[in-house]
Symmetry: C2
Subunit: 278 residues, 2 copies
Amino acid sequence: MNNFIKRTLTGIIFVGILLGGIFYNAYSFAVLFCIITGLALWEFYGLLKHYENAALHRLISTFGGMYLFVACFLKAGGIADNLTFLPYILFLMYVFIYELYTKAVNPINNWAFTLLAQIYCAGLFSLLNFIAVQPAQLTHEPIYTPLFVLAIFVFVWLNDTGAFLVGSMIGRRKLFERISPKKSWEGFWGGLVIVLIASQGFAWYVPEISRLQWLGLATTIVIFATWGDLTESLLKRTLGVKDSGNMLPGHGGILDRFDSVLMASPAAFCYIELFIRN
Amino acid sequence: MNNFIKRTLTGIIFVGILLGGIFYNAYSFAVLFCIITGLALWEFYGLLKHYENAALHRLISTFGGMYLFVACFLKAGGIADNLTFLPYILFLMYVFIYELYTKAVNPINNWAFTLLAQIYCAGLFSLLNFIAVQPAQLTHEPIYTPLFVLAIFVFVWLNDTGAFLVGSMIGRRKLFERISPKKSWEGFWGGLVIVLIASQGFAWYVPEISRLQWLGLATTIVIFATWGDLTESLLKRTLGVKDSGNMLPGHGGILDRFDSVLMASPAAFCYIELFIRN
């Protein structure tokens, strides 16, 4: 299959699965992002050089992060109990104790890399739950509002597209040449303007949240999505790889597709808690 | 001052401050262990080779972990609100974004080491709050029960002493020669027996918790304290240092004093939630 068709098909399926999972209900949201968390972790552990751990440990650590996502979902939905986070605490202790028995050359690196991935892929991403899910009021079903999750993805995609188009046309001043030589300040501003305009579409559909609040959320997401993209570029540049993986044919790896969202989600969470829900 | 007197004096002051902070009230507990968390983090960041970060970043990361401890105290006491953990989430994003601007040779290591210390020193230790503090029922004061925190320290100290005495007298079979050549299985069993006996003293004073529950808690603490000690030994052995620092004259560093407690606390938390409070 030629590369353009492969890219387009993968892109359509990817967007379809994401939107389907976000819109269907709280549980499809949880399952979808739990799987994405797992794929991101697995890919991250594969990327790291000098990560000496065995496949079983990599698998356990991947499941550990997926469990954290599920535990945060339960917590956000008000259906967690005292024991919900216990398996994750046991997992963290396991990570430390495990290295006593591996005879690895550098156990400190193994601890540090295992836990870096937990925070980068699972910890930050788990905050999506607290954006989307609120404790049940009358029933046992958590209250699910996909609005802001949708906004994060739409804003990130529009920002990527806008920055690429404007940057290609009039990009001159480099944004961050050392880490991502193709990005320009013109592209950044172009992406921002497009997302600001799109945010007013959201304001039109969801008037309970003011136009100004939407502008603030859009700006927050664009800034942190850009930082998220640069963070993953720095990671890949340090490791000397071009793509984080090849899970999505023509689009690179999972982390390549979610790098912006990984940083935009916690930032959006902070913004929403501070300026919208507070 | 000769070394024996220095060691003894430091030991008495150390134990006095700890017991005073644990017994006085919830806030002295929080302040004491928040400071210990900070000292442990500062020491940990100093220990790591190839940790390229500037003193200001080390200071911010230390305060980040101390803030996590305070946030967990507020959460455990039921006096946290939606914004309590926000500063820590901002701190985590700062850790990632910071490396974009440092031109460090290996930003991945800096991320990983910064976050390893957060989990090892601040994250695991913060669980002490959930052992000691419960949400307020009628007043705004959190309910503070120092009992189990005291038990952790008393059991760890008795285990250290018992293992040393029994091990010195009849120690033959090595417990973990590669990592800690002086420890013996005889010492381990000796420490365990002494702690099991001491736990029955606690059971006598606190009959609401059964003798069997105390035996289980004592066994859990001894096993994980030993693993905690070995974990820190592995850390020091990998770095080629003898002591983690020199904050406590004659006793080494903060991590040397708290290595067992760092692992015994989360294990005790899990045991208490599973078998005592459940």
